[in-house]
Point group: C2
Chain length 407, copies 2
DNA sequence: CGGATTTTGTTTCGAACCGGCACAAAGTAA
DNA sequence: TTACTTTGTGCCGGTTCGAAACAAAATCCG
């Protein structure tokens, strides 16, 4: 008679543990109640109550069939509810806009890509993202809880203005957080959306770092240094014990203008040999003595040059030239931050894969403390790191307090 | 009839709030129960219970006479009990050993200074510190709760071994934490000491940063960058939201070998123009075209050179030369960490005071984000920062859980 | 000077949250 | 089948904190 009963009333246990418990399930670390008991260091009774509460909130499901294993009573698998709520995750990048829906567990729907609108002023671009997200939200039966956006520019905190949006000539100080909130408020996200829909924005490198930390190559690290390279230049981010360190104004880890070759190429900042100008596609082509074909995206051609390093002598030499400078920059930052893992993305990931041993050797050579300073350098694992990070940003308040999820 | 009653039994409130409350009183932020109520965001009832518990533990006193002020019933001042427990704080530096007793509130007894023993092997130096501390502990009627030590070398975590103890030729990897614990265990700290006396060690720059954050020039900062220069070279430390960031192995912020002048002076690390070799006393004298007098401590002469900058043209030029390089290094680190305050100590403090505007201008010029990157640069306030930090280290467990203080 | 007002401190009660324990459930091992 | 191991749940109680009423001690103001 107890089977298929109505969802039980909220238990009198596990209120403050809901957040940590959901975060563990969200990152795939605790597939069973028993694992939750150990990870949270609570009694089985408490873990059971927490599980029941999360199930009642419609966030997780408990597998009806036991998952066998060793001796003793088998545990039931806990999983993110595939029909649970979603957030809208968006990204603005040099090529256009990307939008997707994201449930818990780091699971993204296949992203929708839109070309850059003809007018790239802030309001119209943010409106395009908000409307594309609203369309996705209307198309699903799942509740929509938030809309979050990744930007290719530094974002100040706590006011949420964008700085130096080079690609789109946005004025520095554009209040992107406020503008996006307005546009999301105007767009119709359908009857299943929370009203008003909470919004959040952050820098794409920071968000990609957060996503890698929770669902990708950064799992299990304590201090994760993330470095990426793309159209905009070099972006860095630091995750400390699960929290992004964005500095007092959101401007930490802007490592693009670290000097790695005093006699190097000139940079827009006025100096020579910045990490930006020494490890971007132009630097790679210059080192190879080649000129990129006009018309095709520069970043794609640079990646092909990396892939050619195993067969083409000139490509190999160019890759090594750039890698030596990247290694200097990474060692400098690692000596300051002493991370226990470094994750590379973008063009830096292609450089790493072209000559992993050389990059690791250069960094180790410049690390101050020998063995203690030897830090693992690995590649990013997520295909859409910034989008996945935007999803994390949107989910943030609900992961901290699952009871704030509307019924 | 209630006056001078026995200390009341422990109340049924404020157990988990004891630590935060004591920390607030410890840092002088909440001199009254009413301020505690606001700072902890609890009810007056809870703040009152917390206060009573801390008083019962013998850690604080409540002033019997009201402290007047505005309207309404006056509040009673809360203060650290001057007869409360102490910890032994020690420091090993190039000139010798320093030891003192420290109560809560950042209050140090006048330190006792000892010359370096003839034999500078680890065991004998640690024994000398432990015995000097034991003598102090025996001489007081206050209970002694811990012994903590500041070392001039990088200290790895969590194992507590010292690296590169240049001045004393200690082998890299010396297990200082274990050795000090043994020596403290052997020394007699008197009948009022906890047995066995807990011990802790850490790097002096990190500890000085922590002390400045809690009791000195870093009060109120969120992200504090601390940089000091002394006999050993440059030491850095970072406090994030009240916690030291020592990196995954305790080796963060070792900024001495940041390159600030590619054509600069050679450094022991093999490169040229490291922050160490460009801002140490030798660099200052070289820039002035002077040779220090033999016999007198180099650091003292360098400080005198800084003080002479206002009157002596050659000293002024030398100070500005060094300051320009120090500014480059500070800007580089600040661009990575985005702190909201920079505190300078040691010779760097003398440089700052000799030409504060120039140093601030150099850093601002090299900061990436204009106004947003302009960070206050101030001098350290504590006379014995590392010793005060060692006291903080020793008090740490009790600040986190005041109930662990033995009755 | 004396009551009104304001602010602080205390007492009492109850709610929320979690551990301990006993028991039940569901598998494996022999 | 029996013993054992491990997992899940119901019940009790303890700890901790908030709400509210009350009490206390000052200033304000007529």
């Amino acid at each position: 008679m107890q089977r298929d009963a109505h969802r039980r009333a909220a238990p009198d246990r596990g209120r403050t543990l809901l957040g940590p418990a959901l975060s563990l399930i969200h990152t795939g670390q605790t597939p069973t109640r028993s694992a939750l008991t150990r990870a949270l260091d609570v009694t089985r009774a408490t873990a059971g109550a927490v599980t029941a509460e999360l199930e009642a909130l419609g966030l997780i499901t408990v597998d009806s069939r036991p998952a066998g294993g060793g001796r003793g009573r088998p545990s039931h698998r806990l999983a993110i509810d595939p029909e649970g709520p979603v957030v809208v995750a968006g990204q603005i990048h040099a090529d256009g806009l990307s939008v997707t829906l994201a449930g818990l567990g780091g699971l993204l729907d296949p992203p929708v890509h839109l070309p850059l609108p003809a007018a790239t002023d802030p309001v119209r671009m943010l409106r395009a993202v908000a409307q594309a997200g609203a369309e996705l939200a209307r198309s699903t039966s799942r509740r929509c809880l938030a809309a979050a956006l990744a930007l290719p520019n530094p974002v100040t905190e706590p006011d949420g203005t964008a700085l130096a949006a080079l690609h789109f000539a946005w004025p520095s100080g554009t209040p992107v957080a406020d503008l996006y909130d307005v546009e999301v408020g105007r767009a119709d996200h359908g009857p299943m959306a929370v009203h008003p829909l909470p919004t959040a924005i952050a820098n794409d490198a920071n968000l990609a770092a957060l996503a890698e930390y929770r669902h990708g190559a950064g799992r299990g690290a304590r201090h994760l240094l993330f470095v990426t390279s793309g159209h905009r230049g070099v972006g860095g981010a630091l995750v400390i014990d699960g929290h992004l360190h964005t500095g007092s104004a959101g401007l930490a880890l802007e490592v693009g203008h670290l000097t790695v070759d005093p006699q190097g190429r000139p940079c827009v900042c006025g100096n020579r040999g910045c990490l930006n100008s020494e490890t971007d596609p132009d630097a790679l082509f210059a080192a190879a003595g080649l000129t990129p074909e006009p018309g095709r995206p520069l970043i794609d051609q640079a990646r092909e040059l990396c892939w050619a390093a195993s067969t083409d002598e000139r490509a190999r030499a160019a890759v090594e030239h750039v890698i030596d400078r990247l290694g200097l920059g990474l060692a400098g930052v690692a000596n300051i931050l002493n991370p226990d893992r470094v994750v590379l993305s973008g063009l830096h990931l292609d450089l790493l894969e072209a000559a992993p041993d050389r990059l690791r050797a250069v960094v180790a050579e410049r690390s101050l403390w020998g063995r203690s300073g030897r830090v693992p350098i690995v590649g990013a694992e997520l295909a859409h790191g910034a989008l996945a990070g935007a999803a994390e940003l949107g989910w943030g308040p609900y992961l901290a307090d699952p009871q704030s999820v509307p019924v």
